[in-house]
Subunit: 390 residues, 3 copies
């Protein structure tokens, strides 16, 4: 089938599968000849080709009640471990997960990069990542057909910090409820909170600087919004609200988030961001929503692409409006609005091609300005992704 | 079954399997606010969470007589290759192994990290590792039901040294004999010797400094015993003796080792270390000993953990006393004694949870002292490991 | 079977396999105590053991017309992605491949390291690699039983360049034709061209310096021919011609290549190289040639090595003469000729052992000279490789 290499024992108590994903990207920027506000150095986005993700995942089940995942990413010629975890399924309503896993925050962060309708996640991730990305921890989840609630405590990321201080830690909790959840009809509401403390030296683990920023593409090294390193960073508190709906081939999803940062020797900081997005399946399919996870999963085409049968797979149009404001107190991280448009071609359950366009506008007080000295404006990104998921 | 993903040809001449291991750790230190004896800089152990090991291994058999293993470790967001080797099974009593493999020394080094009763190996590894860890080489092994003898010559580790000199090399030999080896009854004796030469620049390969030391946990960056870099390091000779016994649910194991280091322009150095450990299976199982390897393998629970059947798996208590002395001539690497206590829960053949506690005491002349200027003392380590092995 | 772990669906529309390769090397140099021509610093080749390649590859087919490969190399304790690509098989004569792949140049570059008759490729690779190695791109191939033509455009390698400029790009095209291609009889002709542009800062991506050179072995860090970094490097154009023939147990293969380098603020450079090699299967087997790829594949022994049946596998003798000239304008990269002799033992379809010897001679104007001040001469390399391929 389309699930990678799968072997299952007769009674189903043991199973193992090997799968993976490839995201091959080609990106171009327009209006990106800018300079640093601070010192006038020229800055240009790196455009070109990149292996955005190249992941292999070994997943399995043993002794009926235990499942595990070992997933590594080899994109960009370096390795990073993603999900490395084990789940005990105590009963159909209760799961306990130990290992390296995402914090239980933000619908968009929970949704897989295989499944989202855009090439990159929204500006809201300036608040959620990297502080609430994967970390070693324990997560308890309880769920039903139309709802889920999970909460976890986490240490730091999977390697030692190396700066000689005990590591920091984090907490996350997310609840979702879908009062309407039937074939082609959905109303989803959700809320989440997160907390992460820096280590004793006010640093994050894994050489991550305590800062909030958004990179236009994974390879661009180009940040239109960036707080820079925040001195005395003690902890970040995140609050998020989610709303989603679907009716046949149309879907909508929105999130709003606010981050509060406590500092050692400085007043607190408050930043917020949100996005609103719409999906329209041109070929008529309905998107998949999983109530027990509170997430959208990848669209499956009704007819796979097959030239000999004149089948063209599924086509999807997506629009997103997002905004982030990283200005508070003396921090001038900039604010921006953005519009993104995606045309996505799902050839079959394993292969899709994403054509993405986005424009950042209403840029204010960010780290990059035009050579003329005025604010940066109308920075465009054009992206093409070929995605294989197994 | 519980062996990972396995595929076998009809006649058994070809087989292949994909397995792995996850060791997820959480560690805490007590009494670790020390300072360097040399310059008074404060030193503290790094406590927190870590992915200690995340390994995938592809193993197989081809043309009946050949087996191979390709094993990588992705713990800590970096990659290192472990066993990468091919074995020719000439006949039931003779094996030749080519590739990256452990030196044939020390029972404890030969035993898998999946199988040992403690979170970390003993203080004896200050002498054996890293000098006698995996390296590229050829090993010849001959064995029977109750005995084994193997010996190998090795080059350096799998990557080039990079310091422009021809690589060093090593040698190892280990013999074991079990005069008593029946169900629930064991007497094991063994002996081993090792030799490793530095390269022409008196360095070890793979950027490893020629030094002996012991890290309290893999992430702590905290060494209560440490010779520091040994100038003029030419070669290290290792001698080891092994003794083990088992009677029903009780087992005991001990090793003693001595390292002799030859130096260019300095007198020889001699260090020694030993450990003595006891295991007691609370739930009555007997440990597994493999006579043709001269090693203990992982305990298998009689009844797997299953709440619905009121089964709780196997529980094991383990105690270890170990000691290392790294003081000789002008080298002040320190000496220490330690006591370690482990409570291990084997849920099934794939999953176990280790609760470990250790206290280092009788510290003398080591690199770290108390802020008051007196010797460090009673440094405690508390460790929790979740282990999946496939 | 011998193809690694393979699972196929009933109708063959879906399949997946996991395979790999291990190349474990031991190398020695003679007459390698040289010094830099530029400053007299002593230079010596690093001899020793190395894991030259340790690759795992996940390959598969989905929805009948799509195949993919995800291949990583963990040799030398670092990771690099090799083939990471997806191919759409539009019809038996047309394939489109997207992803990280070799440029369509040079027969020898196209042939797998598992299949070539020598431990390392020829001096011609000083011109072809790294400029025409794998990169992210799109390749279109059309082929028949006895011919192939492919051409592709490529971005840069799979990770971002990091030097703040848009990436460069490349182009390759290769055509092959075998007017004679029957059992034990072959005549092959081929031609190829390549083009690669540096990025806006005259650099190559992935931290690769724009230079041409040849390393005696992968671990030696020893370059008898080396242009050094070429300032103002704008683009390299490659032209290559191929000729191969086979008659029963005898085969011959030759390539000639010329590289033209355009510089910003400097005259153009022209370098060339060629090789001529012969194979003789002592045990009588014929080598495998695939007309639709225009490549030789690995020899398969008629009888696998099996002591109990007095079978010894296949034995092959190979001779290669190659030459490179990296001197032009003010660039003194040196020239050399070399003779290589290999005795290869194919135990079965998965295992072979290569005994290689080569001597570089007629060295002129290269970067390394003898301590006496005269040109380096008669530098010998002795190599032993154990190769497992699945």
């Amino acid at each position: 089938g389309n699930k990678g290499l799968v072997v299952t024992s007769g009674n189903g108590d043991f199973a193992i599968s090997l799968g993976g994903r490839i995201h091959a990207d080609s990106t171009t920027h327009l209006n990106d000849e800018l300079q640093k506000r601070s010192n006038g150095d020229p800055v240009e986005a790196v455009s070109g080709t990149e292996l955005r993700r190249a992941r292999l995942a070994l997943k399995g089940r043993f002794n009926r009640d235990f499942t595990y995942t070992i997933e590594g990413d080899w994109g960009g010629n370096s390795v990073s471990m993603k999900d490395v975890l084990m789940t005990y399924h105590a009963n159909p309503k209760l799961e306990i997960t130990v290992g390296n896993q995402k914090h239980a925050v933000s619908m968009e962060v929970q949704e897989s990069s295989n499944d989202i309708m855009f090439n990159e996640r929204s500006l809201l991730t300036a608040l959620t990542l990297p502080h609430f990305d994967r970390a070693m921890g324990v997560n308890v989840k309880t769920m039903g057909q139309n709802w889920s609630f999970q909460s976890g405590v986490y240490g730091d990321a999977i390697s030692a910090s190396g700066d000689g201080a005990d590591e920091g830690g984090g907490f996350g909790a997310r609840g979702t409820f879908a009062p309407i959840n039937e074939a082609g009809k959905l109303l989803h509401i959700g809320a989440n909170v997160g907390l992460r403390k820096a280590n004793d030296n006010n640093n994050l683990s894994n050489s991550k600087t305590p800062r909030l920023r958004y990179e236009t593409t994974n390879m661009s090294d180009f940040y239109l919004s960036d707080t820079g390193s925040i001195a005395g960073f003690e902890e970040i508190q995140l609050t998020g609200l989610e709303l989603a709906a679907m009716r046949g081939r149309f879907s909508a999803q929105a999130e709003w988030g606010q981050a509060n940062i406590k500092r050692d020797g400085g007043s607190d900081l408050r930043f917020d961001a949100h996005y609103l997005q719409f999906g329209w399946t041109l070929t008529g399919e309905t998107r998949n929503y999983k109530g027990s996870d509170g997430e959208f999963k990848m669209l499956k085409p009704r007819n796979n692409f097959d030239l000999s049968q004149h089948h063209w797979g599924a086509w999807e149009l997506a629009l997103r409006l997002d905004e982030v404001d990283l200005k508070d107190e003396e921090i001038e991280g900039g604010s921006q609005q953005r519009i993104s448009l995606n045309l996505n071609w799902y050839l079959n359950a394993n292969l899709r091609i994403l054509f993405g366009y986005s424009r950042a506008y209403e840029l204010d007080a960010g780290p990059l300005i035009q050579p003329s000295g005025s604010e940066a404006d109308n920075v465009d990104v054009i992206s093409l992704r070929t995605q294989i998921a197994l």
